[in-house]
Subunit: 283 residues, 2 copies
Amino acid sequence: MAKVVKSVESMMKLSGGFRKKGLSIGFVPTMGYLHKGHISLVKEAKKRNDIVVVSIFVNPPQFGPREDLKKYPRDIKRDLKLLSRYKVNAVFAPAAKEMYPDGYRTGVEVKGLSDKLCGASRPGHFKGVTTIVAKLFNIVRPNNAYFGEKDFQQQVMIRKMARDMNMGVRIISMPTVREKDGLAMSSRNTHLNKEDRVKALVINRSLKFAKILVNSGIRSSVKIKAAMTKLMRTARGLKIDYMSICDPETLDEKSIIKGKTLIAVAVYVGKTRLIDNIVINCA
Amino acid sequence: MAKVVKSVESMMKLSGGFRKKGLSIGFVPTMGYLHKGHISLVKEAKKRNDIVVVSIFVNPPQFGPREDLKKYPRDIKRDLKLLSRYKVNAVFAPAAKEMYPDGYRTGVEVKGLSDKLCGASRPGHFKGVTTIVAKLFNIVRPNNAYFGEKDFQQQVMIRKMARDMNMGVRIISMPTVREKDGLAMSSRNTHLNKEDRVKALVINRSLKFAKILVNSGIRSSVKIKAAMTKLMRTARGLKIDYMSICDPETLDEKSIIKGKTLIAVAVYVGKTRLIDNIVINCA
């Protein structure tokens, strides 16, 4: 079984010891309830670093007051069992009070990126994300940190934060891992009932459809979004939260699709909010 | 002469090397134009650490649009000469563009402390301070960092930030160093003409006066402030920016003086804004 570390102090000592020995640390921050997407990050970290640390922490500040903090799926025993297969060196799993003791006041924010896409629908969410990741980086002191491209905006923001703040951590993003039928892996997929699980397929399908349309020569974002919306409407009760066609670095919206372009969507399937995206490159 | 480092990358390599060898790093961040206050920090750092790094960086974001960024005194040659006497191991003196390249977007903020005292008069100032200090800590990787108590609120906020963000840096504050006549040392004192230099003496005098009044049994902040204001008014043309009687940790205002208490003032003498403070402890 992987070593479970619960206190900040112990984790800092452990990672300080690794660094002093000149060992490279690969870090995979997660909210637990691990799936194949997380495992792909762990495997990559294992390949490229002497030491791998995984954190499991459901971070309260990144959930809005009406969001699913309480019912976010948790099963640390299952997670630890899964991680033991991959010979992870340490699992950092602190309590919320350990990370945010009474009187906690500090935040890290990436302006001009935190208010776009998911940030527009979830005010405060990304400040919560960048703050906890900055804390985790200070505690774990990784050389390399691994993030999935399903949370595309998240890895863009963390890369920007790490560079701006001279954190000395290389941010590595890995492709979204999908179910056989195309649904992006997410811990939140466990919330879907049978019917919703089928409806959710339209999310990835609409992104693939967008890619086909762009490749066929349509370059107007308005037209692409209209076509995607039409396709999504075939799944009854599915509610589009946002749809964005934008620059994958600045997240600035594009009206004409040209060059590297991110198409990202967030959708409510029943009460479950799911996100997915695709990056296309066209002349 | 101390080694001058201008690039972030070189400084990170240098400090990384020190840390790998197990050498402790003491860090004194400054805006240059060094005086005896800074030197007291350097001496203390020398005493307690294997390596001492001093940074010299006039940090644009911590100056408001109408403040004295342009005329803030600078003389790096003089500073380096002075530091060479104390066998500082490295002086980190980056250009503004090196610290804030184009497209820079990230900030660190300590909520609920940044908007009090100097923060109320200088909106955005402390966000500028905490952000640059967080960056410098990432670059220099100190074990101990030294700050003067003249900037009392600054060291309170940085201590809070370092703890909240698990930076692993011990914040050490050192007593304000004063001219023989009581004026707190400050690079900005060079802006004062002869007449203003005399007027400025009333600042420290009013703090000492407050202490005497408290010790004589007066515990009402309103009364103490009124007496201090009256004394300050004896210096014509001196403008009080703020006067605060508060808790030295939370910076919450106190109406009744009891326990450890900070009395802090900011005053315009001509166009020069000067600050000073005193901490008293009464039953």
